[in-house]
Amino acid sequence: MRTLAKILIVAFCVLAAAPIAWHVLSSLKTPGELASIPPTIWPRSATLDNYRELFTRRSFGRYYANSFVIAALSSLLCVAAGSLAAYSLARTSTVVRKLTTSSLLIVAFFPPIVLLFPLYEMVRAAGLMNHAWGLILPYAALNLPLTIWLLTGYFEQIPYEIEEAAAMDGLSRLQTFVKVILPLSAPALATTGMLAFIFAWNEFLFALTFMNRESSKTITVGVATLSGAFTYEIPWGLLAAGVVASSFPLILLVTVFQRRIVAGLTAGAGK
């Protein structure tokens, strides 16, 4: 039983890692080697040319910056708005809290395409097409249900006595929130912020629709359209480098904070 379990786990670890490993290896190959049929597995002579071209001759640096700004600002906005609401929810009556959190959960389950066209109309009317804020605001809002849900659970566990003590010291509710509650909740804020960041970095549908200018594209749309699915010449080396470069920061982030992220993802089920 035990040996069987070990073999199974090792086999699936290989299956999980192999496709990524193949792209890492391919990204180091020369165009000539990439064009060989059948493809080689190990690069004959490793080169970083594909990455160089990605960042110098293509707008990959631009996609990177766009994605980073959009993901960072939207997750900050989301955590700021979400923590305020979650704090009030955690301190309100049980009926209101239960009703609000369950309706938020229903909202979180709506397929994003339901919102696509009206949002497109609004983004256009506001002159935010090809503008970072055209994605920051939708992403912040779409992450709110999960953020509020997770933070409410966390704030509920903070003893009310701490706030009473703060009130005795003459702090207002907003001051209590900023100076006492937020510092106490730093780990939970970081987890929810990270989940919001990953979501924003990965989003495709809205990014595809609201950002059509080359200099405004995010990384997911940039790499997906790099493939030139509509042309015959496919730049394999660039594609492989694009896949690796676009996922590397996330893999790093998630590996370092894996325990927190898993805890955040499963917090809802524990209740």
Binding site: A5, K6, L8, I9, F12, P19, I20, W22, H23, L34, I37, P38, P39, A80, A81, G82, L84, A85, T92, F109, F110, P111, I113, V114, L115, F117, P118, L119, Y120, M122, L137, P138, A140, A141, L142, L144, I148, E164, S172, R173, W201, E203, F204, L205, L208, T220, A224, A229, A240, S247, L250, I251, V254, T255, Q258, V262, A263, L265, T266, A269
Partner: protein, 295 residues
């Protein structure tokens, strides 16, 4: 100790979140619902003319929509079932590891972290008939004699998309279930052992009941995400060949952005929401009954 002015402050606390949700979620939902009862397209100059249930009637007769529903359901059921079976199996297997669990978790997390659109690019290349590594491996092992164009025929294209989705999302199910297993009190296993129960009765009477809430969360998340699938299909096959992998989200996207038929697109997504709500309700009832039965 409630301070004076607490009420008005509370409203101020809710305001930013409420404004964002109202603007980005509530208003667009209402607008989509409204548009689904109108004729709004190129011919009307994008002015909305009230059309009653006309768009919904059109759905009933539209074979492309029926096909998209069928494709989406097939994709969702097969990929979620596979992810679930594999995720549960792996979580049970990982339980036997005392050390190295965090390394396993890190490796499994990598596919889940990748953006879905990037996963689509990655697998489209693996499945490519000439340059793809899958054919290269199969040829080398003499399993096939000539390269297969995986994305060019309906059944293998659907299988390719499912494989890509299973690769990306099994880790999510695995991690949720693994976390659930940490909640099982060890003493109960010992109790089953004392009663002479084997591995199966340990699973059936101890692990499974404790796992149920986690099963529910993972299933609902995955079913809803699966039914809404867009990026994977749009990038990997574009819905082809011949519409054989066109999901409802891809069809609706085309209806909106290519045919500019806003009223009809809205009715399509409206129908999907109704179907999803019904499915979630049924699933909830089903699991609730099992839960009551167990406890």
């Amino acid at each position: 100790m409630q301070k004076r002015g607490g009420r008005s402050l509370e409203i101020f606390f809710y305001l930013p979140a409420a404004a964002l949700l109202g603007l980005v979620v509530v208003y667009p939902m209402a607008r989509t619902a409204f548009l689904s009862f109108t004729r709004t397209n190129l011919a009307t100059g994008f002015h909305s003319e009230f059309a009653g249930l006309q768009n919904y009637r059109r759905l009933i007769a539209d074979s492309r929509f029926h096909n998209a529903l069928w494709v989406t359901t097939t994709f969702t059921v097969l990929s979620v079932a596979l992810e679930f079976a594999l995720g549960l199996l792996l979580a049970l297997a990982a339980e036997t590891f005392i050390r190295g669990r965090s390394l396993i978790r890190a490796i499994f997390l990598a596919p889940w972290t990748l953006p879905t659109a990037i996963v689509a690019v990655l697998w489209a290349w693996i499945f490519n008939d000439q340059y793809g590594v899958l054919n290269a491996l199969l040829l080398r092992a003499h399993i096939v004699q000539t390269p297969i164009a995986w994305l060019a025929s309906p059944v293998s294209a659907m299988a390719s998309i499912i494989i890509a989705d299973v690769w990306k999302t099994t880790p999510f199910v695995f991690l949720v279930l693994l976390a659930g297993m940490q909640n099982v009190p060890r003493e109960l296993y010992e109790a089953v052992e004392m009663d002479g129960g084997g591995a199966w009765s340990k699973f059936r009477h101890v692990t499974w009941p404790f796992l149920l809430p986690f099963v529910f969360i993972a299933l609902v998340f995955r079913l809803i995400q699966g039914f809404a699938i867009f990026d994977l299909v749009y990038v990997m096959t574009g819905g082809g060949p011949g519409g054989s992998t066109e999901t409802v989200s891809v069809y609706s996207y085309q209806t909106y952005m290519r045919y500019l038929d806003i009223g009809y697109g809205s009715a399509q997504v409206g129908a999907v929401v109704i179907i999803l709500a019904a499915a979630a309700y049924l699933l909830y009832r089903l699991l609730l009954r099992q839960y009551a039965h167990l406890s």
